[in-house]
């Protein structure tokens, strides 16, 4: 075969390899191009201590996450996707999953009304008025849900509302695995 015939093939293969690399790197831990992978996966949950939503409630802090497998859900009454995913959280809570809430930049009355209308799936709710704790969790969209293991390490992060598919295909299997 002549060299001049090999060169175009070599060029095309080279470009193909680079495109394949792009696709491969996109696939590394990311579900879509727009989703940013969390750097906190496998790391201990950030140190925080948030006041409760109601006077009767308990504070939600890093300590609350120790010795139990739990979900941490960041929500606000002003966030429509949070409203959309709420029935999923209620279902999980009924199945005995421990869910902690971080109420993000919300008004107390609105948050309480949201829970009165749709039900309260949370074991405890911490109030993050300034959004500083949310930054420590690396949050950029609402709602976001984290799965935390017994040691208090973050194992999974979901951006956006949890669908029933997300729950049955990802969340429940992961919780089962971690509870073993």
């Amino acid at each position: 075969m002549r060299l001049s015939a090999v060169i175009p093939i070599f060029c095309l293969v080279g470009i193909g390899v680079i495109l394949a690399m792009y696709l491969w790197q996109l696939g590394s831990g990311q579900k879509s191009v727009g989703e940013i992978p969390s750097v906190l996966i496998g790391r201990p949950a950030p140190i925080f201590n948030l006041p409760p939503l109601t006077n009767e409630g308990t504070r939600f802090s890093t300590e609350s996450l120790k010795n139990r497998v739990s979900l941490v859900n960041i929500w606000a009454s002003w966030c429509p996707p949070c409203r959309a995913e709420h029935p999923s959280l209620m279902t999980l809570a009924k199945r005995g999953v421990e869910i902690f809430g971080i109420n993000y930049k919300d008004r107390k009355e609105s948050a309480l009304k949201f829970l009165r209308d749709l039900g309260n799936p949370y074991r405890a709710i911490g109030v993050d008025t300034l959004g500083q704790t949310a930054i420590d969790w690396g949050i950029y969209g609402y709602p976001e849900t984290f799965v935390v293991d017994r040691k208090g390490h973050i194992r999974y992060r979901h951006v956006g509302p949890l669908s029933t598919d997300d729950i049955s295909n990802t969340i429940i299997p992961l919780l089962k695995k971690l509870e073993k």
């Binding site: 060299l3 001049s4 060169i7 175009p8 070599f10 060029c11 080279g14 470009i15 680079i18 690399m21 792009y22 790197q25 590394s28 727009g34 940013i36 992978p37 969390s38 750097v39 906190l40 950030p46 930049k105 300034l130 959004g131 500083q132 949310a134 930054i135 420590d136 969790w137 690396g138 950029y140 969209g141």
Partner: protein, 154 residues
């Protein structure tokens, strides 16, 4: 009319690049504010993703701008402030991605593509040149050429 247009162009040139920064966020010490601006210029707003936190009106961008200033006042160096935010949001928060194994393709592919392109061009032109060079004339051809020339001069 021309004057008016010149005046407008001058006015556009004089305006500063737009920033979303609000007056009450600005630090009192100009040197510290300068540092804050330099840091936030290179941090990505995670909500809009193609703007820096300096340019973005998003709530999160504002919170990050305030966090940058809080860390600066607390005495952190620029590197510490940046690593504080990178440890929460990852390298993606940097508008200029660092060179590591995950960004290898990103940084090297332009060079590889340039190399492939150059190679392609070199071979393309080489082949063109080689097609232009025709084999030398054979003896019968030379005789025909001579005859034509003679006929012309006659």
């Amino acid at each position: 009319m021309t004057r008016c247009i010149f005046f407008l162009i001058a006015l556009i040139c004089l305006t500063r690049e737009p920033v979303a920064l609000e007056p009450n966020e600005i630090l009192k010490t100009p040197a510290l504010e300068e540092r804050a601006r330099n840091i936030s210029k290179n941090l990505r707003c995670l909500v809009c993703q193609n703007q820096s936190i300096d340019d973005s009106d998003a709530g999160l961008a504002r919170d990050l701008r305030l966090l940058v200033r809080k860390r600066i006042i607390a005495g952190d160096s620029d590197e510490h402030v940046i690593s504080h935010i990178v440890s929460r949001y990852g390298d993606f928060v940097l508008l200029r991605p660092p060179f590591n194994k995950w960004t290898l393709t990103l940084w090297l592919s332009p060079l590889i593509l340039l190399f492939i392109g150059t190679l392609g061009l070199v071979f393309y032109f080489r082949r063109k040149v080689s097609l232009d060079i025709s084999p030398p004339l054979s003896d019968p051809e030379k005789r025909i050429l001579e005859r034509i020339k003679e006929e012309k001069t006659l």
